[in-house]
């Protein structure tokens, strides 16, 4: 056997168990992180390790570039994924809900990341079959890097500061790439000011991902009505209105495109048809809203404010812009999904450009010098233990 492939398995397990015992995992094993391994991540960016990516003032904690790098490494990211992880944190900060404390809420939301542009191919992000499923390292570990950061940088652990009643499986990881190659429409990032050769991450806070089966139809109105019915399900209504990211399979996107629909046409149709009658809402006790919080209530609640109906129908979206449309998945069936998001409800989504490493020569030398000054040493000499005694995995 190649001696380079020989490791001390007992040492590996000891490191794994140590990280688990410290509570630094999401329940799955993590990759041990040494100073030299951390330096490989930090060398992918010209940002200072101390830069704050996402502050959480109510907890007096913040996720810095260094903490993001440690958690990306723990999650199993390769160093070259790190620019995408950084853009994801920046996008989440711009999105707004995490900073306001949504990750402590009983609703139990998870971050949802959509990646666009050439970085998808460069790091092997899946945009095709099984796009929500497992099997792809970049998708699995970039989403997980954020989750581990939430646990370790903010201490937002279940049964402690994370009060999620049930949470969502998306908490483990939820990162997809748009299938730009099989989409008939402009990619998400180019709808919001970036160029096609740019790479971008768009982060959203989400509650669930609902499956739509529609293999039977070639009529765009029928398919769009199916999607609108899913968006307007009463169970999703906590506030007056909701928002959604519609993830269309290439087959469904083509169906609309062949009929002459663009993304704006679909958004407008969904805005107009994501409605419920007052009677349907009343049957679930959600036909009014609180005059103070705008949360859904029955009309006989002392705080209830009736909702305006147009032709007997009450909208659940506040504008066509409350729906984002992306294309992902395999081109093999009429299956799509509605991802129930917390926002945006009218404003543009936080499309964030990925600043790709490798840095140019001079910038890289400067970053190397800065990391050296800060004590991030590359190479074997830098394999000091990290943090409170994290174990170094040695080759025999």
């Amino acid at each position: 056997m190649d001696p380079a492939l020989t490791v001390d398995a007992a040492e590996l397990r000891r490191a794994m168990e140590y990280y688990a015992d410290q509570g630094w995992t999401d329940g799955l094993p993590v990759v041990p992180v040494t100073e030299s391994y951390l330096a490989e991540f930090l060398a992918q960016t010209d940002r200072d390790p101390g830069d704050v990516l996402l502050p959480m003032p109510q907890l007096n904690r913040a996720c810095t570039v260094r903490l993001a790098a440690i958690n990306a490494a723990l999650a199993g990211c390769r160093p070259e994924y790190f620019p995408v992880v950084l853009a994801a944190w920046e996008s989440l900060a711009a999105e707004g809900y995490p900073v306001k404390g949504i990750w402590q809420s009983t609703t139990g939301t998870a971050p949802f990341l959509i990646v666009n542009g050439p970085v998808r191919d460069r790091i092997g992000l899946n945009s095709q079959g099984n796009v929500f499923g497992s099997g792809f390292r970049a998708n699995a570990t970039i989403g997980r890097a954020i989750r581990l950061g939430v646990l370790n940088a903010f201490g937002l652990r279940p049964h402690e500061l994370d009060q999620a009643t049930q949470g969502t499986p998306a908490k483990y990881t939820f990162c997809i790439a748009e299938n730009e190659e099989e989409s008939p429409w402009p990619a998400l990032h180019t709808e919001f000011g970036l160029a096609a050769p740019d790479s971008a991450v768009t982060a959203m806070v989400i509650r669930s991902c609902v499956h739509i089966e529609a293999r039977h139809t070639r009529v765009p109105e029928q398919l769009a009505t199916d999607i609108a019915g899913t968006i307007s399900r009463t169970g999703a209504l906590i506030h007056e209105t909701i928002s959604a990211a519609v993830v269309l399979s290439p087959e469904h996107a083509r169906l609309f495109s062949v009929a002459g629909w663009g993304k704006p046409d679909l958004r407008q149709f969904l805005f107009d048809h994501a409605v419920r009658t007052r009677a349907e809402l009343a049957a679930a006790g959600k036909e009014a809203v609180s005059s103070r919080t705008r949360w859904r209530l029955p009309a006989d609640h002392p705080d209830a404010l009736p909702l305006a109906a147009e032709d007997g129908a009450i909208r659940v979206l506040n504008s066509p812009a409350a729906v984002l449309v992306v294309v992902a998945g395999a081109g093999n069936a009429g299956v799509s999904a509605v991802v129930e998001t917390f926002g945006p409800r009218g404003g543009p989504p936080p499309v964030t450009r990925v600043r790709l490493g490798r840095l140019p020569g001079l910038a890289r030398r400067r970053q190397r010098a800065r990391l050296d000054r800060l004590g991030y040493r590359g190479g074997p000499a830098g394999d000091a233990e990290l943090g409170a005694g994290a174990q170094q995995v040695r080759r025999r």
Binding site: L59, N60, G155, E160, Q163
Partner: protein, 73 residues
Amino acid sequence: MADGILLERAGLPAVSICTDPFALTARAMAKAYGFPGFEYVSIPHPVASLSEAEIQARVHGLLPDLLRILGVE
């Protein structure tokens, strides 16, 4: 919990009220704010779905505890 602790630190007497299932989080939040022994009132769950009369009953039930924490004789 955070609001109660911040009000107390600003010199304004305050009592936080949580329902029983939030005990773990309440303690974690108090610890995060450097006030692990912060006293608060815990009441039965739920609250959001109660009628007005039931809410009043909850308030009457918690008043002795609230006054005790405030130090009202």
